[in-house]
């Protein structure tokens, strides 16, 4: 698959790879059958600001690059800003994805939302946004 320079940059030098041991929110989406699994870890302060963000991804070049880009786009922002992240924004920031790889960017958006939902759950805040159902699940 031929990727943009930006995708190759994020694939070869992924930002924010790793785990956060005491994460405030963790979201895992995708499944191994389809060949993509993304997990995003969030560290969130008392003002709802994402102070740290890490990811781990099993998947193709596009899956790794979109995870990396998504973490960059939400780090330092508030949770409500992170919830506004759409897959189109991720694709644009990566200077485009091949059409068959656009689903990877959808997964990145969903991983962020699931991580935030986990955070809400932990602090006992009711869910005030629509949590995407992972349609990859069998």
């Amino acid at each position: 698959m031929q990727y943009s320079e930006k995708v190759m940059d994020h694939f070869t030098h992924p930002r924010n790879v790793g785990e956060i041991e005491d994460a405030d929110g963790i979201g895992t989406v995708g499944n191994a059958k389809c060949g993509d699994i993304m997990r995003i870890y969030l560290k969130i302060d008392e003002n709802d600001v994402i102070t740290d963000c890490k990811f781990k991804t099993f998947g193709c070049g596009a899956a790794i690059a979109t995870s990396s880009m998504a973490t960059e786009l939400i780090k330092g922002h508030t949770v409500s800003e992170a919830l506004k992240l759409t897959n189109d924004v991720v694709v644009e920031a990566l200077e485009g994805l091949p059409p068959v790889k656009v689903h990877c960017s959808v997964l990145a958006e969903e991983a962020v939302k699931h991580a935030v939902a986990d955070y809400y759950n932990k602090i006992g805040r009711p869910l005030d946004f629509e949590l995407p159902v992972d349609d990859d699940e069998e």
Partner: protein
């Protein structure tokens, strides 16, 4: 990075210098139409005739049993559709037997015939990729027009027992076709001894150009045409002969045959690659250890995905291929790996390296030293790897 290692010879091969030189004459001087009734035409016809004779000698058949086509896929389509239609018309046979690991050129052709009213049995293979012979035998009936089984698999390199399969097909009066695109040049094929009715091969897997193939049709076997036209190839396949490429194919086959004894060296390099790469934890060879093409290595690396491995290999100058869904437009995991029982998640992490006579010991060393850090790097960022290690720690 300065090294370049081409380990994707099952996809295609570079055209060899000898083949280019052989084709040159046909391009530069013998450019006539072989059907023309004049000196320029005779000159071209002579080249086609001598190429056909040379190929017949190489394969152990008659020149009249060789039909040139545009590629392996055309040969597959022609053999299967032509035989199926003929057998239905003449003998009322409407059933085809094939396997689950055929190339898409065969599988999709069989599916097309299902839409034309034929029934098709897709026989299972075992975990090595070898056709289940009892299942195959049971599938062939008096209604079977054709048995189509590949000589060797393109992904995992398993070499099928074609002679035995011929016996089973012929015992029920069915025709036997084999797609030998991957086998030719890697297995000694002698059509005097191997009783297949039809065999397909392609030029670009053996250092001839893309765009040339052939179908062997044994004398006495009649199949319907796929491409009607101006009476070329004894009225069986229309279209002006691709003279330079036909000459190139003959040359490439001749060289491939000459080099068969050198395959032991290729096999040794393949085995070293298999031994070293399966030494990486949580990796496994896909396919048979023994019934395997001399240049094929296919290894599954758990907890990571193949396209990512491929991208890092490519950046290191190594060309390989993967059975992962993510590398294909269809986003389906390899049907071959699934058929040998590899689960989806492991099929995604498979890499095929297909080496050739041109692959050196230094190339093998380079692959062996390049692979482990790539696998490690990708596992370090895989949530599946993390989960596995966590589960191990709990134990």
């Amino acid at each position: 990075m300065s090294r370049f290692v081409y380990a994707d010879n099952a996809a295609t091969t570079p055209v060899s210098r000898e083949v280019i030189e052989a084709m040159n004459e046909a391009f530069v001087t013998a450019w006539g139409n072989p059907s023309s009734q004049h000196a320029k035409g005779y000159e071209a016809k002579e080249l086609v005739d001598s190429a056909r004779e040379s190929i017949a000698r190489t394969l152990g058949c008659l020149p009249a049993e060789i039909y040139f086509t545009s590629c392996g896929t055309e040969s597959d389509n022609w053999a299967i559709k032509g035989a199926a239609m003929r057998m239905r018309e003449k003998r009322g046979r409407t059933h085809i037997v094939t396997t689950k690991i055929e190339h898409h050129a065969v599988l999709h052709t069989c599916e097309a015939l299902e839409r034309e009213g034929f029934s098709v049995t897709y026989v299972n293979v075992d975990s090595d990729g070898l056709v289940k012979m009892d299942e195959l035998e049971a599938a062939i009936t008096e209604k079977t027009a054709l048995v189509a089984v590949m000589f060797a698999n393109n992904e995992i390199g398993t070499v099928e027992p074609i002679a035995k399969i011929c016996e089973l097909a012929h015992a029920k009066g069915a025709l036997m076709f084999t797609d030998a695109v991957q086998a030719v040049g890697n297995v000694d094929i002698n059509l005097r001894e191997l009783p297949v009715d039809m065999l397909a091969l392609s030029g670009h897997k053996i250092h001839a150009p893309k765009g040339i193939g052939l179908l062997f049709i044994r004398k006495g076997v009649v199949i319907n045409n796929l491409i009607d036209g101006g009476g070329q190839e004894k009225r069986k396949r229309g279209g002006t002969e691709n003279v330079p490429y036909i000459v190139g194919l003959a040359k490439a086959l001749e060289i491939a045959k000459e080099r068969l004894p050198e395959l032991d060296a290729v096999r040794r390099r393949r085995d070293r690659l298999i031994d070293e790469l399966t030494g990486i934890p949580y990796s496994k060879l896909n396919g048979s250890r023994t019934e395997r093409l001399p240049g094929n290595v296919n290894i599954g690396f758990e907890y990571i995905e193949g396209e990512s491995i491929l991208m890092w290999l490519d950046m290191a100058g190594i060309c390989a291929s993967t059975g992962s869904a993510c590398s294909s437009a269809s986003l389906d995991a390899s049907h071959v790996l699934l058929a040998i029982g590899v689960p989806h998640e492991k099929a995604h992490g498979s890499i095929r390296l297909s080496i050739s006579h041109d692959t050196t010991d230094e190339d093998i060393d380079y692959i062996i030293e390049t692979m482990p850090p790539i696998i490690e790097r990708l596992r370090e960022m895989s949530p599946l790897w993390e989960d596995m290690k966590r589960a191990l720690a709990v134990k």
